[in-house]
Chain length 158, copies 2
């Protein structure tokens, strides 16, 4: 085995997940402090998938890798807590465009700043070169398009 003396293979995925979790937990603790206590971890990904121009529920489902029904329900719940709104598409009466509200956009701005701050923390702890190397290496082993996450219901049954 070429891994003799190295960390066991299972440590890598575990540390990757824990590192992800640490960042997301910190993000949401901060967001809660800054007036967004109701946001859940996956909401940030949903907001990113909605994008600045808005989308439809079907397209959102496609981007996130879930059924259109699941996407529709998610939009509904985000609409209830005031983060997105649905408006009619003037050019297609079937479609309803999902857009971020001002509050939704605010949470996205704050998230970006918090993520940058967390990265700065890592730079302080590990060094700028290490963090850049980390990002570089992870880019090598992950798909190019970051937004195809597919993760809702990811731990469920097939």
């Amino acid at each position: 085995m070429s891994s003799d003396g190295d960390a066991p293979g299972f440590e890598l995925p575990l540390r990757l997940f824990l590192a992800f979790r640490v960042i997301i937990d910190e993000l949401h603790a901060e967001l809660a402090d800054q007036g967004h206590p109701d946001l859940r971890p996956m909401h940030g990904f949903v907001f990113q998938a909605i994008g600045p121009d808005g989308t439809t529920a079907v397209e959102l489902g496609r981007r996130l890798g879930v059924s259109k029904q699941a996407a529709g329900k998610m939009v509904e719940s985000l609409e209830r807590i005031g983060y997105v709104e649905r408006t009619a598409d003037p050019s297609d009466a079937r479609r309803k465009i999902v857009r971020l509200t001002a509050r939704g956009a605010d949470s996205l701005d704050r998230s970006a700043r918090i993520f940058d701050r967390i990265r700065d923390d890592w730079v302080r702890r590990l060094g700028a070169g290490r963090v850049r190397a980390l990002e570089h290496d992870l880019r090598q082993v992950t798909p190019a398009d970051m937004w195809r996450l597919d993760f809702p219901g990811w731990f469920g049954t097939p």
Copy 2:
């Protein structure tokens, strides 16, 4: 901002998650090929939490950060598909010891080998030093005890 010119802060968590996901997807594709098509991503963590000596459902729930009832249901479903078994504890009539069956232990052995192989792939692609540095850096920013994952229901509502 000290992040000027660097990757945006949100890339780091995303890449961490994607890297985790890539590994776990590969693991389960391999496991399915090797006769374990019914295993889900979280089962591996459950097996690790059960450990070689077995545990009780309550202790399992504590380790995984879920209620004892949730742990009990998970054990029940794993028992149905033949990966764990429950036996009485001779020294305490209340307790039932949950143990891996031979099939469960087999899946754990295979997982360990597959994880090592995936790590070897990363070594080939990134270099041994980079992978070791990656593991080292991730250890710096994650909790010491790897097994406190707390992740079931992690994306749900509070």
